[in-house]
Subunit: 244 residues, 2 copies
DNA sequence: TGACTATATTGGTCTGACCAAATTGGTCCT
DNA sequence: AGGACCAATTTGGTCAGACCAATATAGTCA
């Protein structure tokens, strides 16, 4: 029951932060430029300084503004934190295909990393377990949702073997920022059957032999296919929107 | 003049956030447990509710607490955001060697990614520029600081060619959280001369041929050497501390 | 014992005030 | 005119006390 909650997304603070965030990310202020004072912002939003301050603290933690006695200033985007990614993506609907592409590239690369590292560390028993999951992945080949779940389980399993906290945290952020959002777009990559079979075969063989490199390669291939598919789907949507 | 500033690290809000963050990361509260109320915290810190609220908003954005009407609750660490990494590392001095190792592993992997991608996209002219930077890297071989600077410049250059915003943002976070901190520890990896020469030679050759894979491999080797060195240095410090 | 309800508690927001630091604009000297 | 200096204003940082709505809790009743 309490799975999706976060700092109530329905508070004034949250809304003000969202408005300002959007304005800043859209580039309505130049880097180094000063934001209106807290008092002025409070007036603008028919709110109070306290709430505005909380909103500003939010943005400061995203690394897009710099609060200092004397004034709040815009920070150049290159110095922002990872957490702006999701917001950057939500700026447009559908999101910028290039951004999606970059995102999936990194996501894939990290998956590859996890896989390789996990298999190097895995016990024979764990390798067997992993092969189970691959078999399950194969069985779910006909439904996207089932496959997506199986896929996630496999990667989660690798992650749990790898036990790299850094990787896990980056994964959290990226997933929170992106994966769920792409899913709500309703893009359901329907993988080519031959590609799918190849992936499963390679992966199973790699796990049987404990060949980390081969497994990593398989994951890389799979990620690339997925990426190309998703990006072209997003691009198509953008086209459709431009046409209408 | 304005390079290292961030939300004034010398404010009450900041201090309170730091204290609570440390307590939470040290595990003094169980996941799901309730934090004292804002009013109680204000009393405890001889402060006001407003300030406490700002501090709490901070922690909520790190993903370590969940603020809800009715009470503030602790979130399990697995669901936290990347931004806690730095704080996790500052928890102990010297930091946990295993964490450092994991960190450098990811950092290296991302550097490799950037390098490969950059060289694939690079124009002949850019490749030449990169070779300049490698030459500079070679010239600085005797001083750590100079070499570190040259090294950074080279990677920055690759990053600017790659133009992958996602990668850049992750890099920002990781650097902010870690690299600078490791530097303040005063650990100055003194690379073996043969390793250094090998790196420079391979890298230069790769750039001359535009061989992305070879360049990536060289970076990987270099990262691995650095990592092993730093981790063992950190471990040594920990030992020394245990002994005393 | 379990479902329900009233009360106390908690976060969300507002107001208005004071302080210290930074900005700004004017002044004075060169 | 140009630059250094200084005072007034603006800005963020903090505090106190108040009200509301949602939640949690304890007490009550079936």
């Amino acid at each position: 029951m309490n799975s999706r909650v976060m700092t109530t997304p329905t508070s004034l603070t949250y809304e003000i932060a969202a408005v300002l965030r959007t304005e800043i990310l859209r580039g309505q202020y130049r880097p180094g430029e000063r934001l209106p004072s807290e008092r002025d912002l409070a007036v603008r939003f028919h709110s109070s300084r306290g709430v505005v301050r909380e909103a500003l603290t939010n943005l400061a933690q995203l690394g897009i503004i710099d609060i200092q006695p004397g004034g709040v200033r815009i920070v150049p985007r290159e110095r922002a934190h990872l957490s702006i990614l999701g917001h950057l993506m939500k700026l447009d609907n559908p999101p910028d295909p290039q951004l999606v592409d970059q995102f999936l590239q990194i996501f894939g690369a990290l998956s590859v990393l996890t896989t390789r590292s996990a298999i190097q560390k895995a016990s024979p028993d764990q390798l067997t377990q992993a092969r189970e999951l691959v078999a399950e992945l194969d069985r779910q080949a006909n439904s996207f949702d089932g496959m997506h779940r199986a896929w996630r389980e496999l990667l989660e399993f690798f992650k749990s073997i790898d036990k790299n906290l850094v990787l896990q945290l980056i994964g959290n952020d990226l997933k929170a920022q992106f994966v769920d959002q792409i899913l709500t777009l309703g893009i359901k990559p329907d993988l080519d059957e031959t590609v799918h079979n190849m992936l499963v075969k390679d992966l199973d063989e790699a796990l049987r032999l404990g060949d980390a490199q081969q497994a990593a390669d398989a994951i890389q291939d799979y990620s690339d296919h997925m990426r190309v598919f998703v990006v072209s789907a997003v691009t198509a949507r953008q086209q459709r929107k431009v046409d209408s």
